[in-house]
Amino acid sequence: MAVTTPPRVPAPGRGAAVRRGVPRTVPKRGPGRLDKAGPVAYALLAAITAASVFPLYWSVVVASHDDNSVLAGSTPPLVPGGHLVENLQRVFELSAFWQALGNSFVVAGTTAVSNVLLSSLAGFAFAKLRFRGRNPLLVCVVVTVMVPTQLGIIPLYMLVTDMGLYGKLSALIVPALVSAVGVFWMRQAVEENIPDELVEAARMDGAGLLRTYWHVVVPGVRTTAAVLAMFTFMFAWNDYFWPLIALPPENGTVQIALNQLAAGYYTDYTLMLAGVVVSVLPVLAAFTLLARRIVSGVMAGAVKG
């Protein structure tokens, strides 16, 4: 969190859908305000999504041909060739890609878990506990989102080096353990999903604050937590500036390794774009997989609630 570009707020669409009380769908009949989409709207949306997906499709196309000569013809290739597996193998042979993937998994996985735990703990405090200075402190959390902490990168590098963390994965993990966006978001989730009576009931049963957190708050906000985890994972996985500075190139993250595929006087585009495919796949897969879980979580909540 300290070094990534200003944290964008996670999951707009889903975030809204996760919250209760927000109308998820508008009735189809009656005085509904929503227009029915006509063929023009569909055509425009198809064009937009084609543009969204094309660079990835293009990567697969180029990555599945044998060498740059595929790009030298009079027309660009638009259909995948038969060399994808071969190029993917080259990615893993030619560079420290396995290690970089492993590093990225450790960093992104750890920060995802810690962000969920620490953000929901703070969110619980801000939403349900009374303590002096609560509201000013909450305002502080919100304001920090706008602070361009990336500009402090030089002292951050010095600090991390002084702490003996340079070149270690903890140099990436520790500054990103918890973020303002996460805290704010979990506070919102706790407030909307955990009724005071539930918290009170836990207290009547003699549960302490930590047990209440673990047994009442955590299960109650798990849908939001999953989305937060997903976005934290993605930010860590995709981060480039700080890993470039805090890790030596031979022990980098997947983004560093990816860039090494392109460096040099001669760029082998089939290799480079095969690297792009490898680096994007885990995130795309995670989002596709977790998206289902989130939908079912929302539906389960709607049935019970």
Binding site: M1, G15, A37, L45, L56, T149, I154, Y240
Partner: protein, 317 residues
């Protein structure tokens, strides 16, 4: 989205809603619960930012450590450095070229999505896809697409007769700015569209009904009902895009694959963040780089404030 709700409507829960039983425990535990965030932000976010100013007042080698105090000399040097003016111009130019069309396009996409669609969730998921792709991957793919010899962009432009000879996109100011802005736009338009969509869906339905009764058409309804209603969200996205858009690093850094942070032979696409990286981590002149940092900080603060005021003012107009 969630945040924006906060910045506009910070309504602290009423005291009465806090469960009574917890009041006794307020001494320490709540502070312990929120401490990790403040600790992490303070140590790894705020302290380095402030320390940057201290470093900028010294002749400070990144590897050798602090040298002598030079006061504002680094800032003076900066004002005499023509690269600094080039980088400031590039930063602002790329920011405007990428942000303005991006937010307008996002509004359009949101408007398209804000209607009854078959497979609604699939459309939403698809426009968000670019957001999952890392800046490095985006920069690599687009530097290929905008390649002089093998790039599909040149191929399309030549095929349609718009250009005679292939464009060397990295070579000139405007062509490089356009290509870099395109990367930013591609990555962020869908994301902002979903923010706008969420805001649009929160607009009370009766406002649309009365517009319909008044016989307003689709475009007029959009201008008179939707836009005013989602204006706080627009202000929010403008400010956040400003903060991010002025700090671009990976896109220009990876655009020409030289790895030297020069931003082209004549610095035609060197942004301030690239300059910060060059002096801080290639030349190891941490003092000078920190001066760049603080000037960039000021630029961000001023532009964000101006944009905020402009966006707010248009509310009344």
């Amino acid at each position: 989205m969630a945040l924006q709700a906060a910045s506009t409507t910070t309504d602290p829960p009423a005291r009465a809603t806090t469960p009574r039983r917890f009041r006794g425990e307020r001494h320490l535990l709540p502070y312990l619960f929120i401490a990790p965030f403040f600790l992490v932000f303070g140590v790894f976010g705020l302290y380095p930012l402030l320390q940057t100013f201290w470093v900028s007042l010294h002749d400070w080698d990144r590897l050798a450590g602090a040298g002598e105090w030079v006061g504002l000399e680094n800032f003076g040097r900066l004002l005499e450095d023509s690269d600094f003016y080039t980088a400031t111009f590039n930063t602002l130019s790329i920011f405007v070229l990428s942000t303005a069309p991006q937010l307008l396009a996002a509004l359009g996409v949101a408007w398209l999505l804000d209607r009854h669609l078959r497979a609604q969730s699939v459309w939403r998921a698809l426009v968000l896809v670019p957001q999952y792709v890392s800046v490095v991957a985006v920069a690599l793919v687009f530097s290929q697409l905008f390649g002089r010899d093998f790039g599909i962009v040149n191929w399309v432009l030549e095929g349609t007769g718009l250009i005679g000879d292939p464009v060397d996109w990295t070579a000139d100011t405007w062509s490089s700015h356009l290509a870099i802005s395109f990367m930013v736009m591609w990555r962020w338009t869908g994301y902002n569209a979903l923010i706008y969509l969420a805001a649009m869906q929160a607009v009370p339905r009766d406002q649309y009904e009365s517009a319909q009764i008044d016989g307003a058409g689709r475009l007029l309804t959009f201008r008179k009902v939707t836009l005013p209603a989602i204006r706080p969200t627009i202000v929010f996205t403008v400010v956040i895009s400003t903060i991010g858009g002025l700090q671009l690093f990976a896109e220009p850094f990876l655009f020409d694959q030289q790895g030297n942070a020069e931003g082209g032979a004549e610095h035609q696409f060197q942004t301030l963040t690239l300059m910060l990286y060059k002096y801080g981590f290639i030349n190891n002149d941490a003092g000078y780089a920190s001066a760049v940092s603080w000037v960039l900080f000021l630029v961000i603060a001023v532009v964000a404030a101006v944009n905020f005021l402009l966006a707010r003012r248009s509310e009344r107009g």
